[in-house]
Amino acid sequence: MSKSNQVLEEITSKEYEHGWTVNLETDEAPKGLNEDIVRFISAKKNEPEWLLEWRLKAFRQWQKMVEPKWPNVTYPAINYQDIIYYSAPKQKVKPNSLSEVDPELIKTFEKLGISLTEQKRLTGVAVDAVIDSISVATTFKEKLSELGVIFCSFSEAVKEHPELIKKYLGSVVPMNDNYFAALNSAVFSDGSFCYIPKGVRCPMELSTYFRINAANTGQFERTLIVADEGSYVSYLEGCTAPMRDENQLHAAVVELYTMKGAEIKYSTVQNWYPGDKNGKGGIYNFVTKRGLCAGDHSKISWTQVETGSAITWKYPSCVLKGDYSVGEFYSVAVTNNYQQADTGTKMIHIGKNTRSRIVSKGISAGKSQNSYRGQVHVMKRATNARNHSQCDSLLMGDQCGAHTFPYIDVENNSARIEHEATTSKIGEDQIFYCLQRGIDEESAVALIVNGYAKEVLNQLPMEFAVEAQKLLALTLEGSVG
């Protein structure tokens, strides 16, 4: 019960609270991108030859591709030669235990409220911490390995579990899937890997925490989660970045793979630096997230709370290949000031009796533009497919925009597809009602917005739900009155 109250108490005059930087010694690649840089990254990570070849192939494909122009966002052209593609906090040797990790790093994460020391851990959450491009620590590894759960950094997985990486890397998001996925495939530096063996219900939430620290650096991490038959895992992803005047590029890829009867629940609270009040700086967040329900009766559920980034381009999707598989997408996207978000999902129904559900809640304030873009595609053999989509927009002020672009393509006559969308604002009478009960205006707005987004927030694990509620309130600060 004290949850909401905490939220309200924390609404003070704070702006972006993770905007600090730390002076970590880093190991960087020179600016720019070419085959040598790709080789440099691969060599830095002591990668096997096949992975280098894979990267180079992706890079060559990327060179032939063009940046997508269809999203409803505008930004100055990105100079891909002006970005540092590899930056790692300098570590003399790979740490074997937390005591060997640079104390500055541990402090960095403690500042973020993420403790890497297991004694002070978040209850029941295992964390993989990624700073700039490199995974710095993974907690609870031993405990998880007793159950056969593999949870480690991507680089480690390449070394320890090459057969799994070889099999599943690119199996859901092909290297040439789109411009940013191809870029990521060429230069990804690290990320998290997770494998849940047959029949195992992962006993704790697995979490990756991303942090961009270095300047002029792009972050290109890659997450791969494989859930074997009948297994279950809930996965959390959080992210922050310092306040910097220049825009920074983040182009991640997340691949989820579920086999027969398996379920993955993937939650994101995205809080990259959104830029300042005048739209200066901020992260360009161009992310490809896709899940493949490969097996029958499998399920993938995406939940996202998007409050950060100057530009968001992101469509966590589900390919429902297995019969009776289920895809879900729950999203709250808040934009304020000059932020632009073009986000939504794709539900591709391939198998029979597949079901999908979309709940999207957009909130636009300030001078921001917030777009929902989603596709529901029922393929010819997807008999009895069902989809229900609800896309709501809330506008605060008359300087912002809310856009809804749903694509519904049905090739099977037994499908039942329903899409609804509404647009509304916070009613003056709702605010007055709160005021009359002694609640101040900022809190009233926070209360109403959290109520509006509740259906999505309810999908988040407890620890994240609190953080998400606070973020919503903070993001919208000063947007009313």
Partner: protein, 432 residues
């Protein structure tokens, strides 16, 4: 590559352009723009599902002129018992013998567009102002190459008590027909008129009909508009309709698509005044290989207006239904209420539907919603009817009819309404 084909075809069209006596200057501007735009290939976002360009490329010789028609009666194509002003265009030419204006000259002006552009100041003031060079490539092509058209003008505070029936016939009994026709209608302040636009084709050769129209509804004026697309032949039609509404005006449109090979309707409504009310309804009942694509745009530019859109489709055979609806609420168009709904039923295994309802809102104090569905008939309702002794076939037909006929609701002219009702009933029962 479809884009290169499109470019070739565009050049071919431009090179084969005929000369016209009327509106040369505007036509030349349009040709320049058309060259720039080019015909949309299948990669074009707005024509993803509707390969008009490819169809033209495959089936038509665009440098050929149209054959003459020796049609002596249009009785088969009229709406029975409808007492109306009748304007007939055959193969892109005005046919005075088959046309008949019954309303008083003081009530309404109905002339050919080419005549109006020579001597009517109202026509000259409004022509080509709404179908602009920023429009769809087909509309721009029409601006350049329209062969003939109709001008309709209703003076201030006048209610025209007989509807205007515009019949566009394409007689392709001997060879292909390519027509480019155009309507300009201007309703002055407080004017009221009802317009029915129907296209039919004759014969078995291919027809391409590129049609564009502009309607101006001034203050407190009221337009009732009905479009009937029930061509028996192999028609490919692209229809661009732009309707401009000013303060306190009213608009009802109804678009019925039953037949044809490839039908594309672009309906663009500009709500450029306060307190306007617009209802637009559409129904596509498709079978065979028909592809019907309705693109609608409602652009709320001013506050305090209301728009309501409902399009429904029933797809049978190998047909394809495409719907794309945009609602724009511009900054400061506060207190706008805009609603949109698109409902589809797919009957056969090979029919498909692609729908994309879109909202783009830049004002906060508005009520906007859209909903779309695709599905089958309600099993519960079907069972209910069958349990009362109605055969499954009849029960389905009844439910489909009920689903479809809802969109006829706003039509005011009883003769027209019962005619449309019969068309729908025939279509839906024939199939079951």
């Amino acid at each position: 590559m479809s884009t290169s084909i499109a470019r070739d075809l565009t050049t071919e069209i431009i090179e084969a352009q005929p000369t016209f006596n009327v509106g040369t200057e505007l036509r030349n501007e349009a040709w320049t723009q058309f060259k720039k735009l080019g015909l949309p290939g299948t990669k074009h976002e707005e024509y993803r599902f509707t390969p008009v360009t490819r169809h033209l490329e495959k089936k038509f010789n665009l440098s050929k002129s149209n054959p003459d028609s020796n049609l002596s009666s249009v009785a088969d194509y009229l709406i029975p018992d409808l007492d109306a002003n009748v304007v007939v265009l055959v193969n892109g030419r005005f046919n005075a013998l088959l046309s008949k204006v019954v309303s008083l000259e003081s009530e309404i002006t109905i002339t050919t567009l080419s005549e109006a552009l020579l001597n009517n100041t109202v026509a000259r003031a409004h022509f080509n102002k709404y179908v602009t060079n920023e429009s769809d490539a087909f509309a721009v092509w029409n601006s350049a190459a329209w062969q003939e058209g109709v001008f309709i003008h209703v003076p201030e505070n006048t209610s025209v008590n007989k509807p205007v029936f515009i019949l566009q016939l394409n007689d392709a009994s001997t060879e292909q027909v390519v027509t480019q026709t155009r309507i300009l209608g201007v309703l002055e302040k407080g004017a009221t008129v009802s317009v029915i636009e129907k296209s039919d084709s004759i014969g078995n050769e291919v027809v391409f009909h590129n049609f564009a129209e502009e309607w101006v509804i001034k203050e407190e004026a009221h337009l009732e508009y009905c479009k009937i697309q029930n061509d028996a032949g192999k028609i490919c039609q692209v229809s661009n309709s732009v309707i401009h509404q000013t303060t306190s005006s009213k608009l009802n449109t109804f678009t019925l698509t039953l037949n044809g090979q490839l039908i594309r309707n672009n309906l663009h409504i500009l709500i450029d005044g306060e307190n306007c009310e617009s209802h637009f309804y559409g129904l596509y009942l498709l079978n065979g290989n028909t592809l019907a694509d309705n693109h609608t745009v409602v652009d709320h530019k001013k506050p305090n207006s209301f728009s309501n859109e409902m399009y429904k489709g029933v797809m049978d055979g190998n047909s394809k239904g495409v719907f794309n609806g945009k609602i724009f609420v511009r900054p400061h168009a506060q207190k706008t209420n805009a609603f949109q709904s698109n409902r589809n039923i797919i009957i056969s295994d090979n029919a498909t539907v692609n729908t994309k309802p879109q909202l783009e809102i830049w004002a906060d104090d508005v009520k906007c919603s859209h909903g779309c569905t695709s599905g089958q008939l309600d099993e519960e309702a079907l069972f209910y009817l069958r349990s009362r002794g109605i055969s499954e076939t009849n029960a389905k037909a009844m439910l489909l009819y009920a689903f479809a006929a809802e969109v006829l609701q706003p039509i005011q002219n009883e003769t027209l309404k019962s005619y449309l009702d019969q068309l729908i009933a025939d279509r839906l029962q024939k199939n079951f």
